[in-house]
Amino acid sequence: MKRAVFWISIIFIVFSCDRFPDPDVKLLRNFSFGFMNNQGDRFFAGEWVGDSIVFRAINNSTPMKDSIRVLFEVIKGGGEITVSSSYTNKEGFTYTGWKLGSDAFKQVLRANTYDLEGNYLNSSDLIAYGFRTDQWDTLPNPFEYNITGMAADTVNKITLIICGGRLYRQGERYYIWNEVTGPFLSSLRTIFIDRNQDFYVCSWNGDLFKSTDHGESWKVCTKPYSQLNFYLNVSVTSDNYIWVSTHNLPTKYSKDSGQSWTELGSEISSHGIGDIFRLKDGSLVLHGADCCSLFRSFDEGLTWTQIETIHHTYNVFVDDKDEIFIIVHPLTIYKSTDYGASFKYIYATSPEWGSSYDHIFKKTDNFYYIKAPGWGILKSTDLVHFEEYWINFNLRELYIDHNGVLLATYWTWQPPYERKVYYRKNSE
């Protein structure tokens, strides 16, 4: 009996030697996966994405011993792939080909990974954008969302933009932008082009630069306000006069491509320049940068006469027939065929939110596009009949390149800080 008790005691002592292990976390498996191709690359719909699609798996714990099975599938866009199932090689690489479809602008190729026992590991997506014709293609958070100016040379087929203070030239494809670097090309704000196809850029410090070789090189113009380090409002009229204004200083113009500057009449100094047009009779029609400041001058801007309207105007546009269009808040268009003696209601929209309405008329060879921030875009061939071309309450700015491709932007400083750029290339 004592022996039995002895052995029972031993068993209990052995049990009592059991220790609870300290809490801990061990990483048993640790893999990284990814496509070697760039995310978000831009192509035309129906194109192959690069020469091939490269996918890699990395074992972060130990060198790769076993292959990883990779199943490729097109998730979005309707494209096609050359290899749908493969195994990684010793270095963890595997390959396929991907031809974009045209079902969607944002197209997604997915790689689903499994170990050799068939256990699911992860899914990685490769995103490519396939630009289409006659559709609005929306890019989320692209670099060009904060474009602040575009100038298109339809003669030489060149388009330049100012984006983030830098200058970019459009590449071979309308969605490709290549930065133009140079001594003065920083902290830029806006760009414009005159009838000689000379480009001008204006900096946030009030400096003006000119290029006569399609943006290849730039020369410094005479600074309109030599003591000022502040941005300018700039317009150019059909006679290649450059018009500038700034806060609380006399409005000026240059008729020699920015070499010298002449002050305008003091009547408009407090209003600045929103838009300005030369009429066929040589007179000028100007709207200031503020409300209700529609003026006309017959003496090269030395004196100005205010054009009275019954409405609160915000902007003006003059077409090839010298018909004057005014924009009335919130965004209603009136037209005058008698040089502002009377105005007739043309069209109205209802923007979701208010904005500045400068440069809202955009003209291509065949059409007028009228941007309506907070509402969308109107289209017209004759400024008599209007088409609600695109209702998009997010719209802020609209630009048109030398090919007639529309580029619209939206951004907000409110959370969640959405930033979008919309491209549309029309087939006609």
């Binding site: 005691s9 209990f12 300290d22 809490p23 801990d24 976390v25 061990k26 048993l28 990284s32």
Partner: protein, 459 residues
């Protein structure tokens, strides 16, 4: 929990005993080691048992050879060390926080020195190797302390409370060195009842292992007469040392997920009081480990919560240690004096509770796959109720082996009336994924006992 095993060893080796005589008054000195065992922690991680010294004097007075009281003065230093590792822990995943707190690896220590005065009720089984059990209260006063706490205790430093009150359970053996001296070995379990830090629920606790010498030779008049003894003859009061295996599981209020049973140990003794026709009343004291286990997907390591934010495959055991006091009536089945049916209530005081085991978590992202194994050790004392109450049904067989040696075998089923989790401190049902089950202890015990052959003692 080492205490449980050790006590079992102790009680199992004491049956080569023979009787000795007791004196009414005794005085002794003891020295040994304590292992810290902090109670009611708020967060996860492991408080490691750290050794510290203990020394003291005790004074005993015996009413007879079996029953007495004991007091004394003790000095001890208790060292607490907390080990935390970087794994997600839900501070109170029952009902409050839905998001895990990621604790960083960090060690903290708290050291205390105490003067302690116990007052204990003592039961002895007289023999040459005498078996003693004590239970009672103690008062302690902190003489010194140092706090070197982990960074995540924003409330520190603060001044610990100086005095404490608590419960003390002790068991041991003594052996006569001469007519006047006895050597003793005792194992004690102490649990404080007062929070010693204002902003936390921590309570002192430790297990002590001590060797001592007791002097009993004061004067002849103090010798205990035989008429003062309890009658431990075979037909009257008897003491049975017991040890066994508990298979426990939870009786959840609904079938949710894969809860499983848990196998733990129990050890203790029982005292039988016959009251005629073979029936007897049985009480006693035992250390029981109950609990359950989980093998399923869950965001909690100790109850199934299918929180989709963080899902583990959990393989853990939830262990709750109780000091159990039963009150059973035993009736012979038929004319047999060997087979008995027993039933009655039980009361269990929680000693420790924890979750141990492993948990696996797969993390799939667009750029990675991670498989983590988490070694889980979390104290759960704050979440488990301080006591449990239930009912026992059992059958037990008393088998005479050689002469008056009896082996007892029992199969018992015990149920609980209460949810083991203490939800009083939490806002109920804040975690929408928690099915809010009421979990109750259920246990089947297979117990092997040995009836101490008091008939062998020298009268």
């Amino acid at each position: 929990m080492k205490l449980l095993y050790f006590l079992t060893c102790v009680v199992l080796v004491i049956f080569s005993n023979s009787v000795t005589y007791s004196q009414r008054i005794s005085i002794g000195i003891y020295d040994g080691v304590n292992y810290s065992d902090i109670h009611r922690q708020d967060i996860g991680g492991k408080w490691s048992p750290k050794p510290g010294p203990v020394v003291g004097f005790n004074f005993g007075y015996s009413f007879n050879k079996s029953i007495g009281v004991e007091t004394g003065i003790g000095f001890s230093s208790v060292y607490y060390e907390h080990k935390t590792y970087s794994y997600p822990y839900y501070p109170s995943p029952l009902y409050s926080s839905m998001l895990p707190v990621y604790l960083q690896s960090s060690n903290g220590t708290m050291n205390f020195s105490f003067v302690r005065i116990p007052f204990l009720f003592k039961v002895s089984v007289p023999s040459t190797l005498s078996f003693n059990m004590r239970a009672g209260i103690f008062y302690s006063s902190s003489q010194n302390y140092s706090l070197n706490t982990p960074y995540y205790y924003p409330g520190f430093p603060e001044n610990p409370k100086k005095s404490d009150f608590g419960y003390m359970f002790s068991s041991g053996i003594s052996y006569p060195l001469s007519d006047k001296y006895k050597a003793s070995f005792d194992v004690s379990y102490l649990t404080g009842r007062n929070k010693f830090l204002e902003n936390y629920n921590y309570r002192h606790g430790s297990s002590e292992f001590t060797l001592g010498v007791t002097y009993t030779g004061f004067h002849k008049d103090a010798e205990i007469n035989s008429k003062d003894e309890l009658d431990f003859s075979n037909n009257k009061v008897s003491v049975i040392v017991r040890g066994g295996i508990n298979y426990s599981w939870n009786k959840a209020s609904a079938e949710v997920g894969k809860y499983y049973g848990y196998t733990g140990l129990m050890a203790g003794f029982s005292v039988n009081f016959p009251f005629g026709q073979g029936a007897y009343f049985q009480t006693g004291f035992s250390f029981d480990r109950k609990g359950y286990s989980i093998k399923d997907s869950s965001s909690s390591f100790y109850r199934l919560i299918l929180d989709k934010n963080q899902i583990y495959y959990v393989d853990t055991r939830i262990q709750i240690d109780y000091a159990i006091i039963p009150a059973l009536l035993n009736f012979p089945l038929g004319n047999s004096q060997h087979l008995f049916f027993s039933t009655g209530p039980w009361l269990g005081f929680k000693l420790n509770s924890r979750t141990v085991g492993t948990a696996y978590n797969e993390y799939h992202s667009e750029t990675s796959y991670l498989l983590r194994e988490t070694i889980v050790y979390d104290d759960l004392e704050r979440l488990i109720k301080g006591y449990d109450l239930g009912w026992i049904f059992g059958i037990h067989l008393s088998i005479p082996v050689i002469r008056n040696h009896n082996i007892e075998m029992a199969l018992q089923y015990s149920s609980s009336f209460r949810d083991v989790f203490d939800t009083s401190g939490f806002v109920k049902n804040q975690n929408p994924y928690d099915p809010v089950l009421s979990i109750r202890n259920r246990t089947i015990s297979l117990v092997l006992g040995y009836k101490i052959p008091l008939a062998d003692r020298k009268e």
